[in-house]
């Protein structure tokens, strides 16, 4: 299975998934920990993928979304953005709205 197929399966089978460096408990990068904090504040259930444990995914995800950095958030299979966009949307109330519209489960 190619990295693209693996990624498509991950984003297709998880309503909310964050590709990040490290884990929610032990984020290994400031931007990843900011993204986790936002998701925790929203209180939504989410899956996470530690790209540091999987080089194929780490490179493949950047091509998949045509986005050069990690973390990357996907909701219902759609690329939402990195931690900067998550923050902008969170502060504008848009991320909360997006999660509500997507009817994702609470944590």
């Amino acid at each position: 299975m190619s990295s693209n197929e693996r990624i498509a399966e991950i984003v297709g089978t998880n309503d909310v998934v964050l590709f990040m460096k490290g884990t929610p408990l032990f984020p290994q990068c400031g931007f990843s920990s900011k993204a986790i904090a936002i998701l925790d504040h929203l209180g939504v259930a989410y899956a996470s993928v530690d790209v540091l444990q999987d080089m194929e995914i780490r490179q493949g995800i950047k091509a998949y979304s045509d986005w050069p950095t990690i973390p990357q958030l996907y909701v219902k299979g759609e690329f939402v953005g990195g931690s900067d966009i998550m923050m902008e949307m969170y502060e504008a109330g848009e991320l909360h709205q997006l999660m509500a519209d997507a009817q994702v489960a609470q944590a």
Binding site: K62, D66, P68, T69, G81, D84, I85, E88, M89
Partner: protein
């Protein structure tokens, strides 16, 4: 690996000619910057599209020679 702030600003301006660019050095190590980019040409573009325009200006440097760039965008008010 590091990059001077002026070079980041110049690259963004070259790709987005009407941009007003403010670069902030977050860590003093030449590797962690914030870029605030205001451009009329951003009007109507999604956040992802705006950020992609800024990342696109930096080409392969993003995630390579430049480890971290915090991007915020806007349109002139």
């Amino acid at each position: 690996m590091a990059m001077p702030a002026g070079e980041i600003e110049a690259l963004i301006r070259a790709a987005i000619p009407d941009a007003e660019v403010t670069i902030t050095d977050l860590a003093g190590d030449g590797d962690h910057y914030a870029a605030h980019v205001i451009a009329a040409s951003f009007a109507g573009l999604s956040r992802v599209a705006r950020h992609k325009a800024v990342y696109g200006a930096l080409g392969t440097r993003m995630g390579g020679v430049l480890h971290a760039l915090q991007v915020t965008t806007g349109v002139p008010t």
